[in-house]
């Protein structure tokens, strides 16, 4: 058979996707062409042999052997790692698990936001958490009704005499300082020349020049 179109139709018949019109064409052509019919019969025979071929049973104990081989076959460490990293996972859940997960997330968010919002309560905790210590407002007062100016100098302002001027109210000078927890020495400077240790200080320390400085302990 030389006609490719007819051959194509024959194979479409064998594939089971030929239309009625094409069937008519090939039937008509086969009637007039014994060679074409012979080829069609030969192909149909080959296909029929395939379709009727015996389905062989799997050898006895096939499943048992597969299962035995499976149990013997421990996965290599590399395969276990690969499976852990790249293997598909099926996530199964129920409402209880979902609620528990939601509660854990909620508690975590609240806890983290509180940590950021509230300062640590003790130096030890602050140091442990690594967060910067928060400053505390400390009010210093000094009763000197006759003084014209009073300032405070200390470790907290590197002993600058004009950095922290105090304000006078009814004969009492006062200033609010924002200091981090710690121990500071300081002194008042009255009228820009007299260094006067705070008479209300808890303790004093020798200043190394024959006088004393007040000691301020800032605790939370």
């Amino acid at each position: 058979m030389d006609n490719d179109k007819e051959r194509d139709i024959i194979h479409k018949i064998l594939d089971g996707d030929v239309g009625a019109d094409e069937k008519k064409i090939i039937s008509r052509d086969m009637e007039s062409d014994p060679g074409l019919k012979e080829e069609f019969v030969g192909l149909e025979n080959a296909v029929r042999m395939l379709e009727k071929s015996e389905r062989l049973e799997a050898p006895p104990a096939f499943t048992t052997e597969v299962m035995r081989r499976l149990s013997r076959r421990a996965p290599s460490a590399l395969n276990r790692v690969k499976d852990f990293l790249f293997g598909s996972r099926v996530l199964r859940w129920n409402m209880a698990t979902a609620l528990a997960a939601a509660i854990i997330v909620l508690v975590t968010i609240v806890t983290v936001s509180r940590i950021h919002r509230e300062p640590s309560m003790t130096p030890a905790m602050t140091a442990a958490s690594g967060l910067s210590e928060s400053a505390i407002t400390v009010r210093l007062t000094f009763h000197a009704p006759k003084a014209h100016s009073v300032a405070v100098a200390g470790e907290f302002n590197k002993w600058q005499t004009d950095a922290d001027e105090m304000k006078k109210t009814d004969g009492t000078w006062s200033i609010d300082l924002k200091l981090k927890p710690g121990v500071y020495t300081y002194s008042f400077i009255v009228d820009g020349k007299s260094w006067v240790p705070d008479p209300g200080a808890e303790s004093y320390e020798d200043d190394g020049f024959g006088s004393r400085n007040a000691v301020l302990r800032v605790n939370i």
Partner: protein, 191 residues
Amino acid sequence: MGTTMKNDQHPDEEAIIRRCLDGDQDSYSVLVDRYKTMVYNVAFRMLGDGDAAKDIAQESFIAAYGGLGQFRFGSKFSSWLYSIVLNKCRDHLRLVKETVSTDDIAGVRPDTGPSPEQAATANQGRNILQGALNALPPEYREVLILKHIEELDYQEIAAITGAGIPALKVRAHRGREMLRRILERAGVTHG
């Protein structure tokens, strides 16, 4: 065909696969039992040798179990098995570089089945067919097996082999022509 096997997805298969993924290896025996005939037959028709077919079929099930994590739920497990066993067969054929002369087609016999006396008549047709299949290039052979023995449509064959449908039809066309000529040369004029 002795037994028709339409490999529609069984409703319990996803559950079985999930149990296997959870470590329940014993559940896998259900799938092996269910598909052993299918896998063994494809391997046998591809290789024409009972021992090799058994080994390849078993290896295919073991490989499938090892790769269950990659199985795409929603696709057919049978299609996945087909692709695995065909790959194994291709690898095997590449290794042995099988060369079967068309003159030897009557000499191929599976190692299973009835005794030689009983098989004298019945096996002749089977052996001739298998010998003819062995003489085909593997890419023609696998299309004919999937299309005419396993009765799959071209769409599923395309999914299994990764080849396009037009290419598969060309392979089937050429494979059938070759098969016809081999069978006629062997004196088989009817099925």
